[in-house]
């Protein structure tokens, strides 16, 4: 059997998604703007190597437009980090 007997083997095939990628019309996760979309922002410690004694989120929660402040206490299973 020769390669020319096959539909795909031995032939150059254009990628199906290439045109969308090249024209910027391909939508990645960051390109979806559903209604009521909220923006999340991570707040890291100011100190790279320190013991975390406490987290006070009251100031962040009081900021206008803040929907929620989520810490490790909001995550039921915390194998690493604890809370």
């Amino acid at each position: 059997m020769k390669n020319s007997d096959f539909s795909y083997i031995g032939k150059r095939l254009p990628r199906q998604d290439a045109e969308l990628q090249l024209t910027g019309t391909c939508r990645y996760g960051d390109d979806y703007f559903p209604p009521n979309l909220l923006i999340a922002k991570a707040r890291y410690s100011d100190y790279p190597h320190a013991k975390l004694l406490g987290v006070d989120v009251s100031e962040a929660e009081a900021m206008p437009g803040v929907a929620a402040v989520i810490t490790c206490r909001d995550v039921p299973y915390n194998r690493f980090g604890g809370g």
């Binding site: 990628r15 090249l22 024209t23 910027g24 960051d30």
Partner: protein, 159 residues
Amino acid sequence: MLIHFHVNGKACAVDAAPDEKLLDTLREKLQITSVKRGCENGDCGACTVLLDGRPVASCIFLTVKARNHSIQTIEAFGEPGHLHPLQEKFRAHGAFQCGFCAPGVTLSAISLLNQNPTPTEEEVRRAISGNLCRCSGYVQIVEAIMDYVEERRAAREEL
């Protein structure tokens, strides 16, 4: 602050904060999501747009600085069904995998080719050096651009 500029040939007026980046204006106010949010540090080139024909990283470019300038995104050059001949080459060479860097790479290459229609491979590599591609290793990208350059050169010589 009301900022006037042209985007892909169309006059636009946007209300922009003094510290607003062009990337955010284009993606969030003008819904041009072909301009990709990558590193937000000016390192990766995914957010590349052409400002008066020259590539700039829109993630570190203030919208207010674009006032009265002309901005082009990849939409200015091709759309599904009507690809730019360079985009056709990228497709034929399988130049991209995830494609996230593709609009930026293409704009950098188009800017180079507008200034220098017959670049060497070295010049092509330098022109797209501000556009990181984590999938491809650049080989097929450079081959596609050089194929386009050679084809155009041959077409000109035939005239």
